[in-house]
Symmetry: C2
Subunit: 317 residues, 2 copies
């Protein structure tokens, strides 16, 4: 066992869907993030001994309902059923934000446990544990947040049954701009808005765009990345839940962003940009829309996080 | 003007859809192919002066209805409306085969005209001319045959409006096996079988697979290419038009093929394989199914054709 059974891990926010890849494509941000402290013991029990931070009140202490607890249980059942675990969660991320709040802590927990158990599980097995946590939180199997939160960069879930994912390359100058308005959208509710059937013409357009996005990432073709960011599936319904979305879309269209849309199920919105200057301009533009509507908000920008969940230290005694 | 206004060009067969990329993905074969002889003149008229070969009777001489004629008109209207053209077509490919018969001659005509006019049009403009020809032949805008017939290799049509395509890399050991049963399936009819709406769950699976296929081609990951060959959209309906398809599917599943399905709208079927030996085994397996059912058929195998339509000489006087 590594680190004497104690580790502190940071799990980053993520943008799911990325407009063209509903449920199958996501990428990781530098900020915000949740942090877990994990302390293995021999109690056979998983406990969440405390939740701190600005959003502590928004998630349950019950380890059967908290995604960190669910992820830990899935991991330990595979690896060491007799072990117990104490989890302390620093909840810096808002829930229901569209930024993968439920995935961040689960990813941190899984990365931390795998570090303590000397890398015993492969990435695919870790991801399978993470999908169980997402299902507990959101009622649906979707890995486009948990996968990049774990692994960093852009990750494609090419198949759920059987589970298969691809780590896509991240072009060097690819930055994001994200604006999060302080409004809550339940992933569960946002999924109920989705059409159960979509026109074949829209579906064809969507998979053309996803193919374009994947190609653009491999080729480092920023123009192709930008032109592929389009959503005929979730955005038409979900954008109605986001005040000012038409203005957001107009800001993105006018540049300097390559493209953008709803982050996950919203209400956060994202843009992808070439370089830091464009991203800083874009985050100013996006947050200004919400501010102009009198909606408190927060902006985030940085190069795409290619690291994912990372050990950040050792918990204090 | 190059070649004194006379050129002979070969346009290859293609596999459209490739199971996971309905209407957006195709690749080129070595054989079969159609060949055109093009002779520029100053008549201002496009004429098809003769069609020869085993399938000559299956296509119209009328240049307004023959895809070579339609493609030539689209090209000359852009480039040199006062020019005339004589076309002689060697029709070696069967029509209604699922092998891109309508695209092969059109691609050869466009590549030939562009050669005569010293490369005046960019690939994207050539492809736009080719889409007009496909629309005349099949009643729908689809570029997954004409694009690889023109350019070779795997081509993704990432968007139709505006038109944008991506030339994807072809892993070195990627071979195809194709079996064509002598049954006619009209592209037009095969399209009428398609659902107009598809379940979001199937669509998601389809774009996950397309992303996997594109990634597999970029990464040279044969396993990923194979696991991505799945079709929830067109195959369920269209496979009913192909006798023995269940056996075909079983042969593909048992290997040595990576995967396979219906070529375009059928009735031809395809498999992708790693290396020549696997492809030769696969083509034997696939043709044996049709032979066993008493259906005349023809098999084709080779490495994916990365050249596309190519000048093959000069027409005789």
């Amino acid at each position: 066992m590594n680190h004497n059974g104690r580790v502190k891990v940071r799990g980053p926010a993520t943008v799911g869907n990325v407009s063209c890849g509903f449920d199958v494509l996501g990428f990781a941000l530098q900020d915000p993030a949740d942090t877990v402290e994990l302390i293995l013991n021999d109690s056979g029990q998983i406990t969440i001994s405390g939740i701190r931070g600005p959003h502590a009140s928004e998630v349950p202490l019950d380890p059967e309902r908290n995604t960190c607890g669910v992820a830990a249980r899935a991991f330990l059942q595979k690896v060491s059923p007799e072990s117990g675990l104490e989890i302390r969660l620093q909840k810096d991320m808002p829930v229901k934000s569209g930024l993968g709040s439920s995935a961040a802590g689960a990813a941190a927990t899984l990365a931390g446990l795998n570090e303590l158990f000397e890398g015993i599980l492969e990435e695919r097995e870790l991801l399978a544990c993470g999908l169980q946590a997402e299902k507990a939180a959101c009622g649906s199997i979707h890995g486009d947040n948990i996968a990049p939160a774990l692994l960093g960069g852009f990750v494609l879930i090419s198949s759920y049954q059987p589970l298969h994912f691809v780590r896509l390359p991240t072009p060097e100058e690819l930055w994001y701009a994200v604006a999060h308005p302080r409004l809550a959208v339940q992933t569960r509710q946002a999924r109920q808005i989705l059409p159960r059937q979509i026109p074949l013409t829209d579906a064809r357009r969507q998979w053309g765009n996803l193919g374009g996005m994947v190609s653009g990432l491999f080729m480092g073709d920023y123009d192709l990345i930008g032109r592929s960011i389009e959503d005929r599936v979730a955005e038409p319904g979900r954008s109605r839940l986001i005040p000012g979305f038409e203005q957001i879309r107009e800001k993105i269209r006018k540049g300097p962003a390559l493209g953008g849309g709803i982050s996950g199920s919203g209400p956060a919105v994202f843009a992808l940009c070439r370089g830091a200057d464009a991203a800083r301009q874009a985050v100013t533009d996006l947050t200004a829309v919400f501010t102009g509507l009198g909606i408190a908000n927060h902006g985030y920008t940085g190069p795409v996080n290619t690291t994912g969940a990372t050990v950040s230290g050792v918990p204090p005694e």
